[in-house]
Point group: C2
Chain length 157, copies 2
DNA sequence: GAAAAATAGTTTAATATTAAATTATTCCAG
DNA sequence: CTGGAATAATTTAATATTAAACTATTTTTC
């Protein structure tokens, strides 16, 4: 048993859980990252493509809200996706403040190709847990007050 | 119930859990981040300071392994901490490839000041879960094969 | 002992992430 | 109708993160 932090049991426990949770998450994301990078994508780019794939065209603002990222970051990630020819931007006619982001045919093909592998990896990484344990884990994470509402459930990133 | 991804139940479940886990982790880290930044630190800088605080002086290599970050990244984070006068680097006499990173008195004082607040936040964020649930969450995260061994348990970052 | 291999740390390049400031557009109050 | 407020997107600056290439030092091989 380590001797690093000594404090009340509830503190030690909370820190313990925090570390395990963050480590688990980082490790899973790293595995997904390694997969998508074989298709020349970063996790963030994958996240945008995946959101567009499942939800259809979205304005940048909506992308940012869905992916929990700032506007400036969305601009950068979408810039790079646009450069790669995977998405196209279109300023809305009715309200020119909004820019709609669409998958290009190439983008559509790519995400359709990449996504199943991501699913496979996630299923594989979850395999050490039984279905009931997975459900339990999901519930506990959600109970932390951090869960997603239903319409965000299957958005991988 | 969302209609975004349709697939076999085990796939839907795994994705569901993945998202919740990653979201939970990101949210917790964001809260810790907001706290440490009131002391002028980033989460990564805090991670280094905290490791040095609890484990004593470490070479950069060891820091990287402990924090699961690359050498290049450690160099950058430690560069910035050194610039801020919170750590000092010292090339080892016995093997000049190694650089030992030490907390300066200022760094020591700062981490001693910051750390309790971080603990408080984490305890508070874990509060929606009972002690048993917290233990359970920790076990499930660890069961994903991603747990930390004992000597890493109380290293917050 | 000399050269090759291994290892620690740094540099480089590309991408990400945030907050804050800025620009452009639309909405709202008077 | 006009000016101010609100909102979407971009820019700027600072920091982070990785992989790959590079430099310096030590270890290993022959």
């Amino acid at each position: 048993m380590g001797t690093h932090y000594r404090g009340p049991p509830e503190e030690v426990r909370a820190l313990d859980v925090y570390i395990k949770l963050v480590r688990a998450a980082e490790s899973l994301v790293a595995k997904v990252s390694r997969h998508v990078e074989t298709f020349g994508l970063t996790v963030s780019q994958f996240g945008v493509l995946e959101a567009l794939h499942h939800l259809g065209a979205l304005c940048q603002n909506a992308l940012g809200r869905k992916l929990l990222r700032t506007g400036g970051n969305i601009t950068l990630v979408v810039d790079n996706l646009e450069k790669a020819g995977l998405v196209a931007r279109e300023r809305q006619k009715t309200d020119r403040r909004f820019i709609t982001v669409n998958l290009t045919p190439r983008g559509r093909d790519l995400i359709a190709e990449v996504f199943p592998g991501v699913v496979e990896i996630i299923v594989k990484e979850m395999a050490p847990l039984s279905p009931a344990e997975q459900e339990r884990l999901g519930l506990l994470c959600r109970k932390l007050g951090l869960g997603t509402n239903d319409k965000e459930v299957r958005n991988v990133s």
